[in-house]
């Protein structure tokens, strides 16, 4: 079954907020070879002008992918996850993510394009903090191959 193009415009969330912790930031920094001590030590982060340990540039994906999962598992959208390839990704940061942040995510299906047996599903996940202030916008396109 192909992806349902009528799903464009659907939104999911916000669900339970994601609590950003120092240990998770360090773990992610280690995984992507982000070498600054500001990802590991509160003191180093303060020296850089941040109130606490600051997340690497793509850390927002940890939160965004959880939100995007709601799209993938929605039977009315019809994405077969075993046929998915990641096509593109973009992060626009309104402010850096800092340890202690409680981040809420709402994911929107912005676009679905179909051609040549492939559906390109573009989602936009808006991350905001406890006060509702925008933190990051994460745009992601998945290429879903239809069954033949």
């Amino acid at each position: 079954m192909p992806v349902n193009i009528d799903a464009v415009g659907r939104a999911y969330g916000p669900h339970e907020p994601y609590e950003v912790t120092r240990i998770k930031i360090r773990e992610f920094a280690d995984a992507v070879d982000a070498r600054s001590f500001a990802h590991r030590s509160e003191e180093a982060a303060r020296a850089e002008g941040y109130p606490d340990v600051v997340a690497p540039t793509t850390f927002a994906v940890v939160i965004a992918q959880q939100a995007e999962f709601h799209v993938v598992v929605d039977p009315e959208v019809g994405v077969d996850f075993s046929r998915v390839v990641h096509a593109d990704e973009r992060f626009t940061h309104h402010r850096p993510i800092i340890a202690g942040d409680l981040i809420s995510a709402t994911v929107h299906i912005d676009d679905i394009k179909q051609r040549g047996g492939i559906s390109m599903v573009t989602t936009r996940t808006e991350l905001s903090d406890e006060d509702g202030t925008p933190v990051s916008t994460v745009t992601s396109t998945l290429a879903v191959r239809e069954e033949v």
């Binding site: 995984a31 992507v32 600054s36 540039t57 994906v61």
Partner: protein, 143 residues
């Protein structure tokens, strides 16, 4: 944005290489990234699953390559100063069961915006002599 810790805008030149790095990705790197990111798609650790969906074998997470590219830029830009980052995933990076895949990153100044005091950094990422990311661009907030 905390631009006080950002790189100096004045003196930047188009085409200037601001950062370079070569990274060896092993299966350990992929498992580590899977745990850190929560992306447990088995194509990033299970040969049989990867081949069954038409891949040449286990491949690196595109987001691991993108995240490492960000780290290369960030080492020059300072933490928290990459305000925008985008890429297309154009070619997979196969990672062998034993040994490593070598991925090289070169970050150059692609455009300068004097009014916003931002630099667009274009990142070339190669594995096995071929580009693996398309239009990999970071916007850095400068001091």
């Amino acid at each position: 944005m905390s631009t006080e810790n950002g790189p100096s805008f004045d003196g930047l030149e188009l085409g200037e290489v601001v950062a370079e790095r070569q990274v060896e990705l092993s299966r350990d790197s992929l498992v580590r990234y899977a745990g850190a990111s929560g992306d447990f798609n088995p194509i990033h650790y299970n040969e049989v699953v990867a081949e069954s969906v038409g891949l040449p074998g286990v491949i690196a997470h595109g987001m691991l390559t993108m995240g490492t590219a960000a780290s290369v830029v960030e080492e020059w830009a300072g933490p928290g100063n990459v305000v925008d980052l985008q890429t297309r995933f154009t070619r997979p990076v196969p990672v062998p069961a034993i040994g490593e895949a070598t991925v090289s990153f070169t970050a150059k100044v692609g455009a300068l915006d004097a009014e916003a005091r931002t630099a667009r950094i274009d990142i070339t990422v190669e594995n096995d002599g071929q580009k693996v990311l398309g239009k990999a661009q970071a916007v850095v907030s400068c001091a």
